[in-house]
């Protein structure tokens, strides 16, 4: 009975209430309409209308909040078009527009936030809403309106994400207004770079900027599923360019100078950058780009990447790294490092790496610049080291290839007979022992009985949990290093599973890589020949793929990369970009090239030139063959391989200084050849030839005559200058400068050699030059007649007068520069329509060996090693970072690198210093210098304690002091929850160990890149070692000398570094047998329990 009554009652009341509400609503609407009738409204009317409107919307809200389907109030709203009518009327009162808009926005906000079902499916709701939003576009200047507009937009985006069908609806409605506009999206775009950080909420919660970005991300997510919307965003909106150029704008707002009090600061931590508003804003936008690329449709992602590369990285970030003032450069480098640690979407990271590894700024390779800066003794050197630390921490094959493996693959750094030992497996700890033996022992002037040996034996006597508060001394123990090495190497190995090659001296093969490089360059030159005539040149095709030549050419290409690669198009990713510029972007490596096979005959025929081009090389027998041919296509390069060639210069010019100089002059002459040829291509007025060339020739002749007189001089100091000039020349080539500029350049080259003596061969050179002069004359006439036939499509083409003079120039400048040019010359006097490619590469080589091979480990390792050699002069923080980088490199298990760093028995080429050599030199230096002090052991001990204290202090004061920077800060950050559990030990080397982008990433709550949560099991590894109490006896004056202190620090670090390397070596001896299977076992075991 009761139940019945209740039910009756409830339905009745519902109907009653509904009808009551509709009645009330009618009343409100009637009132509103009455005011609408007025021709003139005043403030009272507006207030009245707004009040009624609020009541009406409240009624609606109450209904939609309690019903999950349309009720009578909603139906009344729809039938009366209340919202639409109201909006249209509001437009008729421009003086109250803002107020009315604001209240409408608030009403929509209220309504949408309560609604139990999707109101936007009702056109009478959605349409006025869209219209309202569109009208807001013009009045975004009002902060209040702006704010609520974004809130409503966000709500709409959430709705669209939930019900994607609304999207069509949205376009439909918008279609009434001209070409279909996605008004929701275009309204949000201006707010992309608005400040506000999600995890730093302002007083009222999430900031407008963040809300807009969230809304946009919702649409991006939608675009991934809906190609239509992706296409619309890419084609009809300026979303991508705004994002990218916004980065540029925000970047230019960043502080030009980072105020740092601390010497050892080198990296921007999250704590630091979040204190700087402009940096936070930039990071928000970068983060947003990252997110967009990650979740949006690939077409949007690719577009955005293009814009970021061409709109931000190259034009803005690039020049900023080449700023004028040191402070700016330091800041820019630190920013770049920060960005690399922040970006986690691989595609975005890729263009950053492309920028770092391939870009040229002002024709200087960015990477070269960065590597060179490591040598700086200022803060810049430290920051640059920090950047490379970040780079090598990425476990990225491309970076490691570019920095290191590219140079190690040819195996020129090891003795030929040693190559097979690169993969050697040393399991008996010999290498580790070797590192241990390098630990210095210091003898004091006073011959103190407390030798380091005793200290060491104390260390080995492990004493747990036992320390004396006053005289404790902390030193990392060997097992602690072993443990670190274990997990670090394991992580690195796992990360490198995705690499394409093992880098074990067999794959990639030392020869194959080079060969391919070569062939690629050849291929590109061939493909640049666009004529389709068939020729009888097939019998010469073998010359092109002659393996010896291939190697040489390839070497040029490879080493020229040393000076950098300019990469402009995102589609063109090749390292040999500069060679490939003449070919189409779509150029693919043909299978025959990839397989190192000869060029197919038909291909040669197809691509060769109009006439009787013949591929040829410089060998005499070929010359004989082709001597009578009207044209000859030369492909030659005989750099650095005298053993393989008959070329007399190459062989003879190797070892005597006279020959060097002669070759340099030869270089000049040959450069002149090149210039002349180039000049013809430039097609300059004829009279210029006369003047410039004649002048130049006269100069040349004069100078050579002079140098013949000064025979006694053997000064080859300014090879470096020459090398610079060669680089300049190379740049000019690529810049396609005018002939005049070449001449000037040449002048400089010659001047540099002016002081040098010559030999009896000088006369020959003189004749050579005179010969050229004649040739120039000949050409002049030819050009007059054939001017118009020059093919201007290929800027680097040039013509030579006869086959005999078609040699490419090579100079051997051991210890400095070798300038080589590989020429592919099409030579045809009667038909100038050939297309030719001229490639030149200038290489700066450290040295050339007798066998003509470069023994080099690449500029990066070279720089790092030489910095290490300088360890005793480096400040503490440089040494910490430097040794950290080398240890990190040693974590890589690729045999090429591992053997170079850790295998002491591997015999390297004489001119390549091994890590062992450097370290043992340092050992003896340290030991020698220690004897100049009264009690060096105590100094070392004091250094230990100071370092330990300093780290502790930094940790303690971390919260309070905002500006005291220490690298250890980032380390202690890893103690945050969700991080790799920090081991309990306190070690000096912890200053920088363990900090990596990894921890930064985890900071950002990025789950997918969350690195392994390997727990360090050994809790006993913290060892407190009681050492003598007599350190007070250390002469205070000695310790007060900063130089002395630095050497003491150096001794501490050196000792720890050796322990670390020994530990890494031991770990490698165990892990080199491991494969993926072993890691799998771990999980299986875990599954069992």
């Amino acid at each position: 009975m009761t139940l019945h009554w209740k039910r009756y009652r409830s339905t009745e009341s519902l109907d009653d209430e509904s009808s009551v509400e509709v009645t009330v609503l009618r009343q409100h609407w009637k009132q509103i309409l009455q005011i609408f009738q007025k021709s003139l409204v005043d403030q009272d009317d507006i207030s009245c209308v707004i009040s009624h409107f609020h009541h009406a919307v409240t009624l609606l809200t109450n209904e939609v909040a309690s019903h999950d389907r349309p009720g009578p109030v909603l139906l009344y709203f729809i039938s009366e078009s209340i919202l639409d009518t109201f909006f249209i009327w509001s437009l008729s009162c421009p003086e109250y527009a803002s107020e009315l808009k604001y209240h409408q926005l608030r009403c929509f906000e209220f309504l949408l936030s309560r609604s139990q079902h999707e109101l936007l499916f009702h056109k009478q709701i959605f349409k006025p809403l869209l219209n309202l939003l569109r009208s807001c576009e013009s009045s975004t200047s009002l902060e209040l309106i702006e704010k609520h507009m974004i809130i409503v937009l966000n709500q709409v985006c959430v709705s669209i994400t939930k019900s994607p069908e609304l999207l069509e609806f949205c376009f439909d409605i918008s279609a009434d207004h001209g070409p279909s506009r996605f008004v929701i999206f275009s309204l949000l775009i201006p707010f992309v770079h608005r400040e506000g950080l999600a995890d730093k909420p302002s007083a009222q919660g999430i900031t407008t900027g963040q809300q807009a970005r969230d809304a946009l991300l919702l649409i991006m997510q939608l675009s991934n599923r809906n190609e239509h919307i992706a296409k619309y965003i890419v084609e009809n909106t300026n979303f991508c360019p705004i994002l990218a150029t916004g980065l540029s704008a925000l970047y230019s707002d960043l502080p030009y100078r980072l105020t740092t009090n601390n010497d050892d600061w080198f990296i921007l931590t999250k704590k630091e950058w979040s204190e700087n508003a402009s940096l936070v804003q930039f990071m928000n936008s970068l983060q947003f780009c990252n997110d967009v690329i990650q979740i949006a449709h690939p077409s949007i992602g690719h577009h955005l990447l293009q814009y970021i590369y061409h709109g931000f990285l190259v034009p803005v970030l690039g020049p900023s790294i080449h700023q004028n003032t040191m402070d700016e450069v330091i800041a820019a480098t630190a920013y770049l490092d920060l960005f690399l640690r922040t970006v986690y979407e691989p595609a975005l990271l890729k263009i950053f790496l492309k920028f770092i590894l391939c870009a040229k700024i002002d024709e200087i390779s960015l990477l070269d610049t960065l590597i060179n800066r490591i040598n700086f003794t200022t803060k810049l050197g430290l920051v640059s080291l920090g950047l490379f630390n970040t780079l090598i921490n990425l476990n990225c094959e491309d970076i490691m290839y570019r920095l290191i493996f590219m140079y190690l693959i040819p195996c020129r750094h090891v003795m030929l007979s040693q190559r097979r030992h690169i993969t050697d497996v040393e399991i008996y700890g010999k290498n580790a022992e070797k590192f241990h033996t390098l630990r210095p022992s210091f003898s004091n002037k006073n011959d103190n009985s407390d030798s380091i040996e005793q200290v060491r034996s104390k260390q080995l006597r492990v004493t747990f949990d036992q320390h004396n508060e006053l005289t404790e001394r902390y030193e990392s123990t060997f097992p602690a290093y072993l443990e670190d090495a274990h997990f670090n190497i394991a992580r690195c190995r796992i990360a490198c599973r995705c690499w394409t090659a093992p880098y074990d001296s067999e794959t990639p093969s030392p020869d194959a890589v080079i060969g391919e490089m070569d062939l690629i360059s050849l291929a590109s030159s061939i493909s640049s020949l666009n004529n389709d005539n068939n020729n009888n040149n097939t019998q010469k095709s073998n010359n092109i793929s002659n393996p010896k030549q291939s190697i040489n050419l390839g070497k040029n290409v490879a080493i020229s990369n040393d000076s950098g690669i300019h990469v402009d198009g995102l589609d063109m990713n090749s390292q040999i970009e500069h060679v490939q510029k003449t070919i189409e972007n779509s150029f693919q490596l043909p299978s025959w090239l990839a397989n190192n096979q000869p060029i197919p005959d038909e291909l040669l025929a197809k691509h060769s030139t109009v006439n009787h081009s013949t591929y040829n090389n410089i060998n005499e027998e070929d010359d004989d063959d082709d001597y009578d041919r009207p044209s000859a296509f030369y492909a030659f390069s005989f750099i650095n391989s005298p053993g393989d060639h008959e070329d007399a210069w190459s062989i003879q010019s190797l070892n005597t200084s006279n020959n060097h100089i002669r070759d340099e002059i030869q270089t000049c002459v040959d450069t002149l050849h090149t210039c002349l040829n180039h000049f013809r291509e430039m097609n300059e007025p004829k009279n210029d030839i006369d003047e410039n060339v004649t002048n130049l020739l006269n100069d040349l002749i004069d100078q050579i005559e002079n140098s013949i007189e000064n025979e006694s001089q053997e000064n080859i100091e300014n090879f470096v200058d020459i090398s610079l000039d060669s680089n300049l020349l190379n740049e000019l080539f690529t810049k396609k400068l005018t002939f005049n500029e070449y001449l000037m350049l040449l002048d400089r080259l010659i001047e540099d050699k002016y002081a040098k003596n010559s030999t009896k061969k000088g006369e020959n050179l003189l004749n050579e030059i005179l010969l050229i002069a004649e040739e120039i004359e000949q050409y002049r006439t030819i050009i007059i007649s054939d001017n118009n036939e020059l093919d201007i499509q290929h800027p680097l083409q040039f013509f030579l007068s006869n086959t005999q003079s078609n040699y490419s120039i090579i100079s051997f400048l051991p210890q400095s520069t070798s300038m080589d040019m590989s020429l592919l010359v099409a030579n045809d006097l009667s038909n100038q329509t050939q297309s030719n490619l001229f490639t030149t590469s200038l290489q700066q080589q450290q040295t050339s060996t007798i066998s003509g091979k470069t023994a080099d480990i690449g500029p990066f390792l070279r720089t790092i090693f030489s910095k290490l050699e300088n360890m005793l002069q480096n400040p503490l923080h440089v040494n910490l970072l430097l040794t950290g980088i080398i240890s990190r490199l040693a974590h890589y298990s690729q045999p090429l690198l591992r053997s170079l760093l850790l295998n002491h028995s591997l015999v390297l080429e004489t001119n390549v210093k091994s890590l062992f050599q450097i370290l043992s030199n340092l050992k003896s230096k340290l030991e020698t210098i220690s004897q100049t002090y009264n009690d060096f052991n105590n100094l070392v001990q004091l250094a230990h304690e100071t370092l330990y204290q300093r780290e502790n202090n930094t940790k303690e004061s971390e919260e309070s002091s905002r500006r005291t920077r220490s690298p250890s800060r980032t380390r202690s950050k890893s103690a945050d929850p969700g991080k790799e559990p920090v081991s309990k030990r306190t070690r000096i080397m912890n200053f920088f160990r363990g900090r990596s982008r990894v921890s930064e990433r985890v900071d950002n709550n990025i789950k997918e890149r969350d690195y392994s949560q390997v727990t360090l099991i050994d809790k006993t590894s913290m060892k407190f070692i009681n050492i003598r109490e007599n350190h007070q006896s250390v002469s205070v004056s000695e310790w007060d000398d900063p130089k002395t202190r630095n050497i003491a620090y150096c001794a501490v670090i050196f000792n720890e570094f050796l322990k670390e390397l020994a530990a890494i070596t031991l770990e490698h001896s165990v892990q080199q047998f491991d494969d993926d299977q072993i890691f799998d076992d771990i999980s299986s075991i875990q599954l069992l329990y």
Partner: protein, 223 residues
Amino acid sequence: MEKNEYALDYILQAEYNLLRKQFIPGIIVIPSGKSNLIWNGVHFVSQGPYEGGVFRFSIIIPPTFPDGDCPKVIFMSSIYHPQINVDTGELDIKRYFPVWKRNGHHLWQVLRYIRRIFQKIETTNSVNVDAANLYEQDPGIFLSKISECVNQSKDNLYTPEPSTTDDPHAILFTPWSDKLQNVRQLLLTGKKKAFDNIHGLSWMKPGVYQILTREDTLPSHQN
């Protein structure tokens, strides 16, 4: 420089890794939980006169390893074999490794040797002269003695070896139970790659040694 205590651990670890790579059939071996220098193993003989035998053994590694003396191999149960000392159970390993060469000899070769002695019986220079003579003169009785050994080893299969009772790494056998089916399944199929969350980066195209050449695969879109 004194040889440090960790070096030996790492040498043994490396030896063990080498051994694992060999997949020597019929032999399982694991270092004792108490000392790295004692490796406990079981050999399941699958062919030859000792077929069916399950023999426990220990490898005792000298602390000077890899320099110095050969490791010792000691069988736990008494095995009637010309090369095995009937009293101590020690296998005559010197006949195969007269001098232990640090770079030529590895512990996995010892395991191979253990396997070999049960397949091909040699009688020259035996430590158990009786067994050698018997094998030469009366193979029938020899075989019956062997089958006694084999049967005994089978009977003792589930009996834990007394010397290893307190060893956490002791090899124990239990009769088959269905519960083990899951474990077996897990071992066979549960080969999930560990550390899936560690990723390196590479845009190199396999075989083409140029950096940043592989197309972006915007990984998020593959899901």
